[in-house]
Subunit: 160 residues, 2 copies
């Protein structure tokens, strides 16, 4: 029932998997904003995603193994959405997207702060970030460095 891929090119397959206007937005919000619930993603969406689109993308991403769900012990109706290893390894891709967008699109200064920090931090920072995400989403040991804190503080310093 699954439609065949257009080609076996890795760039094409990445595009077929994530190349629409919403999937990476959802992943970005889970990753950088630590939004773990449906309503959280829906209401705090900077871009205003529609509820049916969000539901559709979450289901597709879970089906593809790019997100995982678990019941929330504190609320029987809530589903916790977590990143998986493949999605955590999107950090370099998202960092490059931020770096490119910062230079070649009319991105606002406040929203570019984190992209700039992540770009200047380089591979070392990306690895630290991925380690932190593994601890948050996969339950591994928490690392010493918190890249999320660094990014958040830089953003707040620039805004406030």
């Amino acid at each position: 029932m699954d439609k065949p891929f257009r080609s076996g090119c890795p760039i094409n397959l990445t595009l077929e998997t994530l190349g629409d206007r919403w999937s990476l937005i959802v992943i970005r919000d889970i990753m950088f904003g630590n939004r773990r619930h449906y309503r959280d993603l829906l209401n705090h969406s900077e871009e205003g995603i529609a509820s049916n689109i969000l539901a559709d993308r979450l289901r597709k991403l879970v089906d593809a193994g790019l997100l995982a769900t678990s019941p929330d012990p504190k609320h029987k109706q809530k589903t916790i959405y977590s990143l998986t290893e493949p999605t955590i390894r999107l950090v370099p891709l998202l960092a490059e997207m931020g770096a490119w967008g910062r230079r070649f699109t009319p991105a606002t200064r406040e929203l570019s702060i984190r992209a700039q920090l992540l770009e200047e931090g380089g591979r070392d920072m990306w690895e630290a970030f991925m380690a932190e995400l593994r601890s948050l989403h996969l339950g591994t040991e928490p690392p010493e460095r918190s890249v999320i804190n660094e990014l958040t503080e830089a953003y707040l310093a620039a805004v406030g």
Copy 2:
């Protein structure tokens, strides 16, 4: 008449600019395959792009300053499509997409060879590649190193 952006986030803006299923395919073919004409892009497309979609994407990319056109002195009907500096700077993004796709999608081995080489080559190789693209598309001095040759030879060695 231009529709407003959903947000000023650099990741979102990159997605709004390039986040559809064909734009980056076209750029990839121009960049790695050195396809400079419409028919060239249409007929040798690994993924089988439709003619109207290709025409639409080329126009949009030119309008956005991501591609440039020039008349072909050898053929009055031909238009030469060239990368511009913003598109050349997509090399790191495409390299990361190839690296991710190679690991987490069912990419074929032959088509992954170049992605692997580009990933292992790292920033130095990407910079050399961008210098080469500037010479091919912007008319700057040709560099000593030809990354395109390296990639092509590796691909041919793996296939033949």
